[in-house]
Point group: C2
Chain length 415, copies 2
């Protein structure tokens, strides 16, 4: 019998209870012993639940229970989760979490603490919900050098973009629909401004390249500026716009990492990841591209990833799972302004579209024009490769001086 | 230092050496000790290789070397691989293999033998090449009941079908091109007639549902009968033809399992798995659909999966990985003739296409007509749901009696 405690009885926490109860038999077979929830920490009462007697409001009751060897955290947010994690790992309890904010902000420290105390700190559910991704990267791809990871890591924004692409719905309307369906929160900023995807790409980057990357060091753009005009230009170019979190190891040992909307070619495996689904592409030197696809959020998918970690903890009470990275180091993240890439640029001038493009071409000799359906007078779109954001901004400033409006610039992916 | 031996220095075996040599440092870090190849078994000599001194033609030299704790088999074929596997597992050596034929034919026995002797028998590379799939199913999805698995499991046939779909190349021509490019063997029958995909779905079915399924119990159709006419009907229907291996657990505790070309809707995540790539969809009750995509074959992808297993063995010398299923049991596989499903049917009559369809409709009241581009006179296509193959065959026999030719019938997928 393995006793565990669950911190938080919200969407994911109650899902963990549901998965453990409905799959008791198969989980016991796989873990080789029964997993029993002994305590649930929540400030609310749930008198109607069959397991109402397990609730406590006192974390210390859990911390001081020597039977509890594994604590599962599904509260979200940095505090008090961080304090609880530290206390558990300092007191002989392995820690399983679905909390991406915690892992992105404190992963290196908590991993080191777990290692020091010969405990496990596992977080499969923190990225990609029910999609297995943390474990495959750390284990199955262990005989590879991962060179690049690119993913659609946030279901809410992917739902909104899918509505914009497929139904020509505007951003605001699509967001309102996402909120109505429960896919977006009342305050959607962490999703639509990219912070959620940023935490996840930080976790994947830390794992793949062995050095912690903090969210504040990552250039992050959301999708709030994306217009239906951009969507139409992407279609004319031959693809779709997706919010991508990506990281790539450079030859100089620095990583390029960012979260931004990007043009994705329609042949790409990520182009067909629609609605609330997530897709993560891992480019290994031996495996080539491997893509993982599935529901990136939701009660049961996330809970099943948490429970898989718990099973792993039970099976490895004495053998630590190898999941390790060092703390951040200076000058490791390439500044965004210096990352070279290809961009789509959307401008508008006082004259005709042809005149606008001609003005652009004078500054961007490599520009390839993209003509969208229903282009407005004076509007022009083009792609241009081999640019750094700093170099691009300089040229765009010149275009503005010459009387053009710059409606937007969007990265073009190479995967 | 962990000493291993490699059996077979063909495409995969030499790839294992390459991966171990080129990734020595990161592999050592991940395995926590250095992995050294001490012997390579091959009947050929490779005097030009830097590690030419490691070769032996005598398996007993490996078997009797107490330093060797892990033996890696990359020979393929049932014998002598099976004999070697047994001997290793009976003599204290864990066994890692990329050999799908071995696992599909002898998996239950070798797993039981490994368990009895507290050793590991691992075979991540046997399905999906470099795509992590065995481990995710057994570990990450441990807190799920898997209900269904469907996959494009054979790269050769997928390449041929992609050429037929995208370039209207005929089957024979596409096969010749695959052979020229090294994607198909001179005798392509194991690929094009479905035996390779069959072995792989047997392994996945055994793993997901805990009971061994032998290839001879699985209804297997290849792609040799697929015509460009069928491809055009699939397009008119709204999708593509793919060779699918699938298994589904029924409410009666029996599995439906088969390998056959199927109509796949173009919205399906499997529809865009093209060329030599593989894609595997796992439908779990908690996770929903999770899809794994990547290169299903090739030297380095497969070798990297083998090496990942070796790393896992090194890390778990004393802790067995949990990978287990029982031997086959009678009446467990639903007979193909009784599996209900939806079919596409392609007929041709002496009169007009309308007359041919009218004759079909008399027997199939649920028939939905599909009209393809460049339909030939007298030709008609339709889909009909709620049919068993036995029931369908009966009706098709009646159509034939009435003077129709039945050009083909193809399953329609529901994923």
């Amino acid at each position: 019998m393995a006793d565990i405690a669950v911190l938080g009885h919200g969407v994911v926490g109650s899902g963990v209870l549901e998965v453990l109860l409905t799959h008791r038999e198969s989980i016991t077979r796989r873990a080789k012993e029964e997993i029993r929830v002994k305590h649930i920490l929540d400030l609310r009462d749930f008198p109607q639940l069959p397991y109402a007697g397990l609730f406590t409001k006192d974390f210390n009751q859990i911390l001081q229970d020597p039977d509890v060897k594994i604590v599962v955290e599904c509260m979200g947010g940095l505090e008090p989760a961080y304090g609880f994690a530290k206390a558990c790992l300092e007191n002989g309890k392995s820690f399983v979490t679905s909390n991406k904010e915690l892992v992105a902000a404190k992963g290196a420290e908590l991993i080191a603490l777990a290692q020091k105390n010969n405990l496990n700190f596992l977080f499969e559910a923190s990225v990609g919900g029910g999609i297995p991704i943390i474990r495959p990267i750390s284990q199955c791809l262990a005989a590879n050098e991962v060179g690049e990871i690119a993913g659609i890591l946030n279901g809410t924004t992917n739902f909104i973009l899918t509505k914009m692409i497929r139904e020509q719905m505007g951003f605001e309307e699509a967001l309102a629909m996402a909120q109505e369906l429960g896919y977006a929160e009342r305050d959607p900023s962490a999703d639509v401004e990219g912070a959620d995807a940023c935490r996840k790409i930080c976790i994947l980057a830390s794992l793949a390249f062995g050095t912690h990357v903090y969210p504040q060091d990552v250039h992050t753009e959301g999708i709030t500026q994306i217009t239906l005009g951009d969507v139409a230009y992407a279609e004319a170019w031959g693809g779709v716009i997706k919010l991508i979190g990506m990281v790539k190891m450079g030859e100089n040992g620095k990583i390029s990492i960012l979260v931004a909307p990007m043009f994705i070619h329609r042949e790409s495996q990520l182009a067909n990841v629609d609605d609330v689904f997530n897709g993560i592409l891992v480019r290994g030197d031996a495996t080539g591209d491997v893509v993982f696809y599935g529901k990136g959020a939701g009660k049961l998918p996330t809970a099943s990833a948490v429970v898989a970690d718990v099973i792993d903890c039970v099976k490895h009470f004495k053998a630590r799972k190898y999941l390790y990275w060092e703390d951040a180091k200076p000058d490791y993240v390439e500044p965004f302004a210096r990352m070279a890439g290809e961009f789509f640029v959307h401008i508008k001038g006082p004259g005709s579209s042809d005149q606008a493009f001609a003005a652009a071409q004078a500054l961007f000799p490599q520009a390839a024009r993209i003509i969208r359906k229903d282009e407005e007078p004076g509007e022009a779109g083009f792609s241009a490769a081999g640019l750094t954001p700093a170099g691009l901004d300089e040229k765009l400033a010149q275009l503005k001086k010459a009387g053009m409006s710059v409606c937007g610039r969007i990265l073009i992916s190479d995967f």
